[in-house]
């Protein structure tokens, strides 16, 4: 997986739907265009949720990967 310059990191470990989406939205609102958010979640539903959220909002899901029981997402702000 490629390395991204991360501008902000968001920890959503242990949180269930819809909190990772709500917190991601809030975090992204605080970022400038082109900046990258790294999100860490443990909710398995977040894999499809973050894909849908980025498609819907026009932000770019650069990459997502599964690490031992955790899901890591890199999202670039529109």
């Amino acid at each position: 997986m490629a390395e991204y310059k991360v501008d902000m990191e968001l920890d959503c470990r242990g949180l269930s739907c819809p909190l990772p989406v709500l917190k991601t939205k809030k975090a992204m609102d605080g970022l400038d265009s082109g900046k990258v958010l790294k999100l860490i979640a443990t909710d398995p539903g977040s894999v499809n949720d973050m894909a849908a959220w980025t498609r819907r909002t026009g932000n770019t899901l650069l990459d997502s990967e599964k690490q031992t029981g955790e899901f890591v997402f890199y999202i670039r702000k529109k």
Partner: protein, 171 residues
């Protein structure tokens, strides 16, 4: 009605129980986070979800499939489904309070937001909350009892919005 190009969702929240409270607030807060415009029209028992102090409980009555879990102890114990006769439990005084406390604890353990949190998220993100005037009259509610930002309306107000919405759900 003017369209600003955003997707629109129109919800009717008709239930005042805890299980009835989650779907509208989860969907509304998530939709707002997806840049959608959202209206929730609260009617009948759903109107109680607008009260400043939420009292939503779970009821075993009419919920025969409700799993009964214990929110403490080792994982295998927590995952047990207690075979409580639904109809019997529904008639036990205080059962709803106990079941509500247990379910709220289970939700907290699983990292689920409280209804209060989700409702605040809705308000912060501009979700429009509308109380049904007719139900208010029937049950004797006044606007002052509802959270700040609540609007009051009727069927025509909802229908005008819903007719232009992309998603309409009755919950």
């Amino acid at each position: 009605m003017e369209s600003d190009g955003r997707k629109k969702m129109a919800l009717i929240a008709s239930k005042g129980t805890l299980d009835g409270a989650y779907p509208p607030f989860v969907l509304a807060s998530a939709a707002a986070a997806m840049d959608m415009e959202v209206w929730i029209f609260f009617t009948f028992f759903g109107l109680t979800l607008l009260l400043k102090e939420l009292k939503a409980k779970v009821s075993a009555l009419g919920n025969p499939a409700m799993p009964m879990k214990m929110p403490f102890g080792p994982k295998w114990f927590q995952n047990l489904d207690w075979p409580m006769p639904n109809l019997l439990m529904a008639g036990v005084p205080g059962f709803e309070t106990v079941a509500t406390a247990l379910m709220k604890r289970t939700f907290k353990n699983k990292g689920v937001a409280t209804i209060e949190q989700l409702r605040s998220a809705c308000l912060e993100s501009g979700v429009k909350l509308i109380g049904c005037q007719m139900t208010m009259d029937v049950f004797g509610f006044s606007k002052e009892q509802f959270i700040e930002g609540t609007e009051i309306g009727g069927a025509a107000m909802f229908l005008e919005y819903a007719s232009g919405a992309d998603i309409q759900l009755f919950i």
